[in-house]
């Protein structure tokens, strides 16, 4: 109020500087937009590589587009075909099955290992690195190693042999191929482990001391201090874990090719086969939208559920 009446008075008294001050205001506004310069690359990339392609993907999904022939509009027929395609159902089921074991399993393992690595043990940098190395080398290299570990006469069956168990032919067995990929995925928990480790180091020591004063033992401290304080990290790990797990493809492509008998046909692998082997781009795009819808729904459900169990001690600054 005071400032506006003051400016009214000054404009009333001297007109020329008023125009000058408007000019200054514009210049100030321009100066205030300087941030755009910094985020400009992202804005361009967002439009060209994300927003544009999303819209384009939606259009493609309504087309019959075999690369090489001109695309034709077929309405919702790609979606109708996808919903009745038994391999879409199969690959979605496989992906969900993998996620159901991979995400909780690797979160628990990562949390436990992070807890262990947070203890005072000599030579810790060495042990920490050893847990982390398999994650650093994830992807193709690890897939090659596990092809050999899971080989019929490979290391894993050799070890089972010590206990008199005759191991299965892991990667060529319809029963064991999927469990094999899940087991292997537990070696790639390094990233969430490091995030948990960072979180554990931020748990205030006085909370543990308070729990000790109340006579709480080791488990009580984990249960009532560590886990509640770590829920934001666990939540983040679950969210990113589900998103990643629904888009898993490399291992299956290299190790099983989706087989045997489609036992490891993941949804993204099926999209790849439809798009780049069968060149049915429209159909592949419609399946990718179904995958999108599932991941989106899973993320929303987790965010809604988070209110019940995720504990934020204080608001993030900024």
């Amino acid at each position: 109020m005071a400032s506006s009446s003051l400016s009214a008075k000054t404009t009333g008294l001297r007109t020329v500087p008023a125009r000058l001050s408007r000019w200054r205001a514009i210049r100030k506004w321009i100066a205030g937009q300087e941030g755009w310069v910094f985020i400009f690359p992202w804005v361009v990339g967002f439009i060209l590589l994300d927003l544009g392609p999303y819209i384009f993907a939606l259009i493609i999904s309504f087309l019959n587009w075999d690369v090489g022939r001109p695309p034709t509009y077929i309405g919702l027929r790609n979606y109708q075909a996808a919903f009745t395609d038994p391999l879409v159902g199969k690959s979605l089921w496989n992906t969900a099955f993998y996620t159901l074991f991979h995400v909780p399993g690797s979160t628990i393992i990562a949390f436990t290992v992070a807890g262990l690595l947070n203890q005072k043990v000599r030579g810790m940098p060495i042990w920490r690195t050893m847990y982390y190395i398999p994650s650093v080398t994830s992807g193709v290299g690890m897939a090659l190693i596990w092809i050999w570990l899971f080989a019929p006469r490979g290391a894993l069956n050799g070890m089972l042999g010590w206990f008199g168990i005759e191991g299965p032919r892991w990667l060529t067995s319809t029963t064991w191929a999927m469990p094999a990929l899940i087991i292997m995925s537990f070696w790639g928990v390094g990233a969430s482990m490091v995030i948990f480790l960072a979180g554990l180091q931020g748990v205030p020591q006085h909370l543990y001391e308070a729990a000790e004063v109340d006579g709480g033992g080791w488990w009580a401290k984990v249960r009532h201090v560590t886990i509640p304080m770590m829920t934001p990290y666990i939540f983040l790990s679950l969210i990113l874990g589900v998103i990643g797990s629904f888009q898993v493809v490399t291992q299956a492509l290299l190790m099983t090719g989706g087989g045997p008998d489609n036992a490891t046909l993941f949804i993204l692998l099926y999209i790849w086969i439809m798009g780049w082997n069968a060149f049915k781009m429209g159909y592949a795009a419609s399946i990718s939208w179904i995958l999108f819808a599932i991941i989106f729904a899973a993320t929303i459900v987790q965010f809604l559920g988070a209110r019940r169990w995720v504990y934020y001690e204080y608001q993030e600054p900024g």
């Binding site: 755009w36 992202w42 990339g45 993907a57 290992v113 992807g139 993204l268």
Partner: protein
Amino acid sequence: MTATTAEAGRRRPIVLRTFRWARRFLLYLIVVGGSFVYMYPVFFMLRTSLTKESDLYVVPPIIVPLPPVWENYSIMWQNGPTWSWMKNSIIVVAFSVVAETITSVSVAYGFARTRFAARDKLFIGVLATMMLPGAVTLIPRWLIFHRLDMIDTLWPLLIPRLFGTPFYIFIMRQFFLTLPRELDDAARIDGASHLQILRKVVIPLSVPAIATIAVFSFMNRWNDFLEPLIYLLRTENLTLAVGLKFFVSRFGTEYHLLMAGAMLLIVPMIVAFFLAQKQFIRGIALTGIKG
């Protein structure tokens, strides 16, 4: 009640010492044992890559192959255009690490330290692209690059790196928010521009976080499989990660050669990790990655 406590108090030293010793022993056993379980595949790969084919299934298994069979590596190397795969991978990775790091730092600075009306709304866009599945953009991007006649070149693997990567932008922004604002205010009073503040004040304080995203970028691009798989066609144009796919079909059950190939992919990762490890761990601890 009081009597038993007193009695326990008298006995405590030995019992407690034994108990504590047992607990520490168990802790070491789990930590060290577990770390060997985790490293086992890597040891096993190294060992197999230096073993004679005839020794692969010997019982009891050979732990250290002596003498090491280095020929496995030369046989593996000559089995494909390995040198050009290596060269392609190095081009993609070197370009990506530099481009992604610079653009992500710049964009993150914009989101953390400058003020303009649409800033926070746009940041939701960054979060969205981080969360939404990239699978949907795979087909349209491929068709766009196809139209631009860039299939079977490295361009589709290089161009998208020029625009900042959402996850790295997110990490850097979170880190910049932890830096005290008084530092830039002081620089601003001295008449520094945003670019000068970024270069002279913010970047020198952010080395661990920048190293973290550079290592992430290096690992992700080096291991990247799906993108080069769909964009590159001719055998000699592939990157190493995709090229090794041919080894799987070509070597079949010649696991000693397959493992030599895997070593080629994994050793640079391990070396890079050790070089950057100190900064890397510190960077992750400092950024406080959290929802």
